[in-house]
């Protein structure tokens, strides 16, 4: 089972908090929206990722662990 960070683009309004908390996985695009790495979430970044999830003002980030994705 792969675990990846996922952004709900409908909820996201581009606050940019996530890119500051986990720059290893999230960059900002030219319009201020997060470009989230599609690679598997590395274990050593899991704590940072969780902090980004709970710090997002729109609660737009989630960890996707569905099989087959």
């Amino acid at each position: 089972m792969t675990r990846r960070l996922l952004v709900n683009p409908i909820l996201c309004t581009g606050h940019g908090v996530c890119a500051e908390l986990v720059p290893e996985l999230i960059e900002m695009d030219p319009w201020g929206y997060p470009l989230v790495s599609r690679a598997e979430l590395p274990a050593e970044l899991a704590a940072h990722a969780r902090r980004a999830i709970t710090s997002c003002p729109e609660l737009a980030l989630l960890i996707d662990d569905r099989p087959g994705r």
Binding site: P9, I10, T13, G14, P30, W31, Y33, D64
Partner: protein
């Protein structure tokens, strides 16, 4: 009435047309003509034993799975597998998608106008297969004549007591994103006609949070024929890997544009010949419509009409759309107009689509109507900033079209970039976009 399907059932039936058989001229098959032609809805009466009913429903799914039917709305997902997955849940709902959002497609409207009972049969059979107690048929709310015809068809069936599960008509706004399946489910749930974020997927959690089967109306019409004549009959047209027929909407520089029922596997060139053949020398073929891909005509001509065949040539088939582009037209100008339309048609929910599509449209228009050496590279940079970043696949359609344009019209793109617009930009628009662009 039984679901025992013998191979003999389909024997002796003509190969083509299937979906549009018996529908002549501008006529519409009423309930009596429909039943005269195809026999009654092959739905077994429910028995006292729930277990026996479920077993029979499972057998119908087996037949559909063996037929190899895939979704005709564009995604091409195996219909049998989708039925099985929804049937595994409790309290399923069926939604038939007849809200054709693709401007270059006309086949769903034709099918619903000419053979509504075939689609309604398919809805009942799908509801039976997945154990649904409710079903919906979604069409554009602006198509009042179509909706009136369908209301009449539903009422006639109600009076005759044909459908065990009630079918409710749902009006969907005449917009590209509104006909996306999650948007239709949201409308039925009382929300706005806008796509929703997945997860959850509609087949897991759709109408009222229940497992929801969303199928294109053409897919359901094929299902209605498979339930009558069997999987062997279905496979007697098409190829072993891509069985059956498909409704194809053909437009552009051909003698007789329109909707044709084509055997899968037919070379695209032969498909164009069935529409009377090219009226002008061609340079490219658009497969898959506004969400599709441009292919140079020499690449496209011999590709077989199957999802896999067109994909192998670098294209997509979408909901069965083929547009022939004259050598005198400008593919870059066509692409710029379509992407501008798609940028205006964003649901306005996701940042990368709201900002990225207009940016892409602007650079494409710059390349088509202006020029600039940096523009092709700028388009290539923008594509990954837009693609896959929306809740639905709306932005991906635009990027796919743009990418294929740079590939199929590569020499033309160099000319535009270095010397400015070619003479083809003055050729009238081939792909007509809904509404008046000038009014925006």
């Amino acid at each position: 009435m039984t679901l025992a399907i013998s191979e003999a059932a389909g024997a002796g039936r003509q190969v083509l047309p299937r979906l549009l058989a018996g529908v002549t001229g501008g006529g519409r098959a009423g309930l009596l003509e429909h039943e005269d032609l195809l026999g009654p809805l092959p739905l077994p009466a429910s028995t006292a034993s729930k277990r026996a009913d479920r077993a029979r429903a499972a057998r119908l799914i087996d037949v559909v799975e063996r037929s190899g039917l895939t979704g005709r709305g564009g995604a091409g997902f195996p219909t049998g597998r989708k039925l099985r997955s929804v049937a595994a849940g409790r309290g399923a709902v069926v939604v038939a998608n007849g809200a054709e959002g693709e401007p270059a497609s006309a086949k769903d409207r034709l099918l619903l106008t000419r053979a509504p009972h075939l689609v309604l049969d398919g809805i009942s059979l799908a509801a039976y297969a997945v154990g649904a107690d409710r079903a919906y048929l979604a069409v554009h709310e602006t198509s009042s004549r179509l909706a009136a015809g369908l209301e009449g068809a539903v009422a006639a069936r109600q009076a005759a007591g044909i459908d065990p599960v009630p079918v409710t008509l749902v009006g969907i706004p005449d917009r590209y994103v509104a006909s996306e399946q999650s948007a239709i489910v949201q409308v039925i749930n009382g929300g706005p006609a806008l796509p929703t974020f997945a997860p959850p997927r509609t087949h897991e959690k759709g109408v009222d949070g229940r497992p929801t089967l969303v199928n294109n109306v053409e897919t359901l019409a094929h299902l209605a024929l498979i339930a009558r004549f069997g999987d062997g009959w279905f496979r007697s047209a098409g190829t072993p890997a891509a069985p059956g027929t498909m409704l194809v909407t053909i437009s552009g520089a051909v003698a007789r544009p329109g909707v044709y029922e084509i055997e899968l596997g037919t070379p695209l060139g032969t498909v164009l010949m069935q529409a009377g053949g090219p009226t002008e020398p061609l340079q490219a073929i658009l497969t898959g419509g506004f969400f599709g891909t441009w292919l140079p005509v020499e690449t496209a001509w011999h590709l077989p009409l199957t999802l896999r065949g067109v994909r192998a040539g670098g294209g997509t088939l979408g909901a069965g759309i083929i547009v022939a582009l004259s050598a005198a037209a400008c593919g870059l100008a066509e692409t710029a107009r379509v992407v501008r339309y798609l940028a205006h048609e964003t649901a306005g929910q996701c940042g990368p689509c709201i900002f990225g599509l207009p940016a892409l449209a602007e650079v494409l228009a710059g390349l088509a109507y202006g020029g600039g050496r940096q523009l092709p590279e700028r388009i290539r940079e923008l594509i990954p900033l837009v693609e896959g970043r929306g809740a639905c696949r709306h932005p991906d359609g635009a990027t796919q079209l743009a990418r294929s344009a740079l590939r199929a019209f590569a020499p033309d793109a160099r000319w535009h970039a270095e010397r400015g617009p070619c003479g083809g930009v003055r050729y009238g628009p081939v792909l007509s976009v809904p509404g008046d662009l000038e009014a925006w």
